[in-house]
Symmetry: C2
Subunit: 317 residues, 2 copies
């Protein structure tokens, strides 16, 4: 079996894979040309999901399975993959711990004014006057109630935070005090001190948040986006921050990544920008390849339809 891997794990992890599966050929490279010979004979592609187009697919005549090591698959040609009958799996599930830790860390950083204090430290200034708050007793609204949101909910509850959730139908989810259908979003937003989106990019979530949604939030609200950048137009969020309709934003995902150096988000004092790193952890690649290995064992037994984390190519997640 030929396995082409275009995400580049550490040398140790590469060696581990080859030693575990000596009868199969692993090719590791960190770019993927349409004309690449390896593509034509690859049975399996391991990718981060950002380097594979419909043109690559046309050249990949032997391809049966794409193992995406990230959770977001929206840049892959889903329709064409479906038409070709190729199986797509992703790495959902391993993001929950690092992303929930990021979310709680940023909430605590916000209420404890860490960023302002770091700036004061840079000036060697002793300063005690900041608008300190407590997480304890606040209300958090999570857009999305999947595995990552559930982990955020569980950790937030430990801090005595009231956790509300929004999902498509409003169905109840363990760990959320209350859940609401997306149709009631506007009515619930005024209750939240913090709003965190962990929604994937799907036709239903693109431009979901409009000006009225930010207007409905508290003036003291913190908005955090850990899902995908196309949830709202940047102009809408910028306006709501500049006119202090909301107090602050924490953004890890953007329409265009890398975020251009001249984008206004970078230099706004009430915006925290991170470079799509919320899921990153020293444990990420070993766990993602762990999913691949379990699936590969199944695949080798001919159980291609029983793989873990198969993406529904119609829904897109």
């Amino acid at each position: 079996m030929n396995i082409l891997c275009t995400s580049f794990p550490s040398r140790d992890l590469q060696q581990d894979l080859q030693e575990k599966y000596p009868d199969h050929q692993f090719h590791f490279q960190n770019h993927l040309e349409v004309t690449d010979d390896k593509l034509a004979c690859a049975d399996i592609l391991i990718t981060m999901g950002e380097d594979f187009t419909i043109d690559h697919l046309k050249q990949a005549g032997s391809l049966k399975w794409i193992s995406c090591l990230s959770a977001g698959v929206e840049k892959l040609p889903l329709q064409a993959i479906r038409d070709r009958g190729v199986t797509l799996t992703n790495a959902r599930g391993i993001h929950a711990i690092p992303m929930a830790e990021y979310a709680l860390g940023m909430l605590l950083s916000h209420v404890k004014c860490f960023r302002q204090q770091f700036v004061t430290q840079q000036k060697s200034q002793w300063e005690k006057k900041y608008p300190f708050q407590e997480l304890h007793g606040k209300t958090l609204l999570l857009l999305g109630t999947g595995a990552i949101a559930k982990k955020v909910a569980q950790l937030a509850a430990a801090f005595s935070v009231e956790v509300l959730g929004v999902n498509y139908s409003g169905h109840a989810v363990a760990g959320f005090e209350r859940t609401f259908p997306i149709s009631e979003l506007l009515q619930i937003l005024p209750q939240a001190d913090f709003v965190i989106s962990i929604l994937p990019s799907t036709p239903a979530t693109k431009q979901l948040l409009q000006e009225e949604h930010f207007q409905a939030m508290k003036n003291s609200a913190l908005f955090m986006n850990l899902g995908r950048g196309n949830l709202f137009a940047d102009s809408i969020l910028l306006k709501s921050l500049q006119t202090e309709q909301i107090a602050a934003a924490v953004l890890d995902v953007f329409h265009e990544e890398p975020l251009p150096a001249d984008h206004p988000y970078w230099q706004l004092e009430n915006v925290t920008v991170t470079s799509h790193t919320s899921s990153y952890s020293a444990n990420y690649m070993p766990k993602a390849l762990g999913i691949f290995e379990r699936n590969f064992d199944q695949f080798l037994q001919g159980k291609q339809s029983e793989l873990e984390n198969i993406v529904d190519l119609t829904r897109g997640y």
Copy 2:
């Protein structure tokens, strides 16, 4: 009854107090001269504990009770207060939530490299390469197992952190997986990824940590001090940071406060300095005065020996 208050709550809180107790005289001022007339006739002193010396005590002939709105009372003349038979109460108990949130926030900030990412944001730089870790699965050693440490332990456990504690006798404490006597400290330090001190300043804790203790910690360890600055000599911690015996320090308390502007802590990249703010919260003063009010009600009924949070003037906490 004459109540002299040298910590300065908001005007609203001042008004509340005077309205609740119309038969008693409250005097609010933010400094305290030895020659102050108010001192001579004060029955009760409300203070943050940093402005009252043995000379003040000599002038305060009517004083029966000092209500300290902070937890640390080591700057008060404890021996003389004891000799005079004055009751001293403090505000222990209300620090647990804000200080535990600070501790967890700083741990998350450390493993998620927030401070480095804030610095990169200042330069408008997209950067994904940081030594990201997870809190999940790490080991935390708490020096002290009192109310604040218990709250830290509870929150840390929610992140699947193994929580160890050290106290004088090694007695078991709910919420700690294991506790050890202080005599075994050197042996336990190598197990911890994070060491947080929440010890008060007492004769037993001054200079408790010596060079050998920092040498015993992991090279990857984070050390956090939320107790008192005199737990160790600065020269010892600086050496252990500069020689990378430990990875980082988070310091909220210092030998001299304010920390002098030319102190090396300010500009070290692996030291986070905050200005003794870990317990601060918009809820602090209302809660501290709440303790005063409950105690004042008891005091007015002649139950001076039954007040909440009476400080043991021999032990010093």
